[in-house]
Symmetry: C2
Subunit: 421 residues, 2 copies
């Protein structure tokens, strides 16, 4: 039996509709093991909270508040975009972490994030070996981009996917009603700078190329302007309208993003407009159709009101299992989601060594993109469908979702030194 | 007792998340009065369907399909932006309407739309008097803009308001988590070219100027750039971030829309970017903050998945009552929503003569906008709160809402003449 240690938990990178469900899984599970885990300290703004000894004492939160995390979007303790450098480049950061962990008797390090965070977690997990400080570091997967390797899917993605599929279906019905005398082309811009997973999920809104979305523009498929315009024209001819879903990462053959089309405003400033606008402008200039465009931006990844029940459940499970695996003595792993079967959808929680996870991106397989490049295949549909399944509505008061804001009571500092990032 | 007549129903102008609930109210109620009302013929694309004798026989739809309209967004029969000219300017259109109504034994005209449609409905209601053809024309209110007079609120608005309030609350939690190391300013663009009702509804997301949205930009308040930038700066200083909700109709003192800021792209084309982008660019140029922006566009008015239960109920009721009032012999009226009390919220269905409705817009009262111009007052909150209350979730299959697409079987044409619009 090891001595009782405190745990450190932090959220990293872009937040999601369900990252707090993972926090809920970690904290509730830790509270069930008070004999082994003392308190859970949350880093304010990810690893920055550890480096600056700026931590939150989650034991000061009621059971009710912690339970409410399960249905609250955003990052309850603040997130951050901050990547630890390698040990050789910045030994000071690692020494500081050890100093903080020692001062607060931290033996468990739970890091909830995407690819960059997995790398940070991996580096922390090496502290035992390289710097002789015993800490078990477990990574809890999270990313709307769905691009972590090994795990079948990433918590956070299923809810964005559901939001995008539902919104596409709804907006398409609106456009279809108006097309005769008004808008004929509707463009929805979604996230996914490197991989087209989110754009692909819009494909669930319809059953094939004759149902909206009529066109999906993936980052994986170099933008073919003539083919695109032909397809828009045909869709309007056949259906009176055309719904286009475009990934923010859509790009030309030479790698340039469509969003960086080089337009400038009247003052000569580089255009900030997104890809939706570029695509809409192309259509207007070439075909003259009236258009509208929407940019979902943060709405898509914070839309807890339409979260996928599968996603919320998995987000909780990867947090819960991280604590259980830590208690079982594991270090330097990420909890994963393992798909057992498509229909019926069955999954379980697994684990992967962080050495296999860090700094690897999972791209969409080619076989998930239709041969014409503008839609998804049956295989992709089979993969995506269970991830958006089930509704998991938050409670409402007076018409608005009842999200929790924690007290976030700081842990008293024990070190006299300040750390400058 | 009048002889049995058929009814004409059509949808006009921009559609909403609940306009089909009104259609459902009309058709289900008409079906209960088969002794008086024969069939309900829906115009394909609003009044255009009547003019071109392009009608849909709703009696060919199952009771189940009609019931599903209650939870289906968009316009099930197609809508249109088309305004009848005055009788003196275009007598041919009115003669054609009479021709079509006579051919199909239509004695009831139900028109579901906003201000322009109320005008069309008013003109049709005058056919009895001016052209000696007996038809009872009843207008069913619908508009996300909430700008129809007499009625306390407009079906369609409550659901957009709920969408905007929920989305603002959610996105704000996302931004708050990221602000330390990433996005500090988030701008959400919402609809409302003339009136700030939709922008105002974002105010429900927080309880005052210290909670997001920190700034609302209304069309009613001339844009004061220095005051706006000071407020953004203060919000970031006080809260680390700033959430701005801007109406597409936000404008300068001289009446120019912010969205028409006169920017052009590299080819000299007029910029198509919306106001969100203009506002974000201002903030970047003046204060240098990292920002994100979202444009809700059609997503906001088609978001049946997060419809307000109050709104869905009222949308049904104004359709149902329109039929009942027609059967009671009324002509040239609009069904209205009458507020009896705020707390508890009580309402009933009333009626207003179309002569009092047509061509009048209801603007936001000044007392609904905070003295500083950047937020809503307690009076506004009291008005808006009940309209977003209650959830009315559609059924789901495999993670996606189960919206109905009708068969839309055409009514056989009886006229040999074609009408050119």
């Amino acid at each position: 039996m090891t001595a009782k240690k405190n745990a450190f938990y932090a959220q990293s990178g872009g937040v999601t509709a369900v990252i707090n469900a993972s926090a809920c899984g970690v904290i509730q599970t830790a509270r069930k093991h008070r004999d082994r885990i003392g308190k859970v300290y949350a880093g304010r703004n990810g690893i920055i909270g550890a480096l600056t000894e700026d931590m939150i004492d989650t034991s000061r939160e009621s059971a009710r508040a912690i339970a409410a995390l399960r249905h609250t979007p955003g990052g309850a303790f603040g997130s951050a975009r901050y990547k630890l450098k390698g040990l050789d480049e910045n030994r000071a950061e690692y020494q500081r972490l050890i100093e903080v962990f020692k001062a607060h008797n931290i033996g468990y390090f739970f890091y909830n994030g995407g690819g960059d965070s997995a790398d940070t977690c991996y580096k922390v997990s090496q502290l035992s070996k390289t710097m002789g400080f015993p800490v078990q570091a477990i990574h809890i997967p999270k990313t709307v981009d769905n691009d972590l390797p090994v795990t079948d899917n990433c918590p956070g993605f299923g809810s964005v996917a559901k939001y995008v599929a539902v919104s596409t279906r709804e907006a398409a019905m609106d456009v279809a009603s108006m097309a005769r005398t008004s808008t004929k082309v509707f463009v929805l811009e979604v996230m996914g700078r490197h991989a087209g997973w989110i754009a692909a999920s819009a494909g669930l809104a319809g059953s094939g190329p004759n149902e909206p979305p009529h066109i999906i523009l993936f980052p994986e498929v170099p933008f073919n302007q003539p083919a695109f315009l032909r397809r828009v024209k045909r869709s309007v001819a056949d259906h009176e309208y055309c719904v286009v879903v475009v990934s923010e990462g859509a790009r030309y053959r030479d790698g340039r993003f469509l969003a960086d089309a080089g337009t400038t405003d009247a003052f000569g400033h580089k255009q900030l407009g997104g890809v939706a606008q570029v695509v809409a402008q192309l259509v207007r200039d070439a075909l003259g159709f009236k258009f509208h465009y929407a940019i979902a931006d943060y709405l898509q990844r914070s839309a807890r009101h339409i979260a996928s029940a599968t996603d919320a459940k998995q987000a909780y499970a990867v947090g819960k299992s991280a604590v259980e695996l830590a208690l079982a003595g594991h270090n330097s792993i990420m909890t994963t989601i393992v798909r057992k079967s498509d229909r019926p959808y069955r999954w379980s929680i697994g684990e992967a060594p962080l050495s296999r996870v860090a700094n690897r991106e999972k791209m969409m397989p080619k076989r998930y993109i239709r041969a014409d490049g503008f839609g998804i295949t049956a295989a992709c549909r089979r993969y995506l469908a269970p991830l958006v399944r089930g509704e998991d509505y938050p409670p409402y008061t007076d018409g608005l979702p009842d999200y929790v804001t924690l007290k976030n009571v700081p842990v008293a500092k024990k070190l006299r030194t300040k750390f400058v990032l």
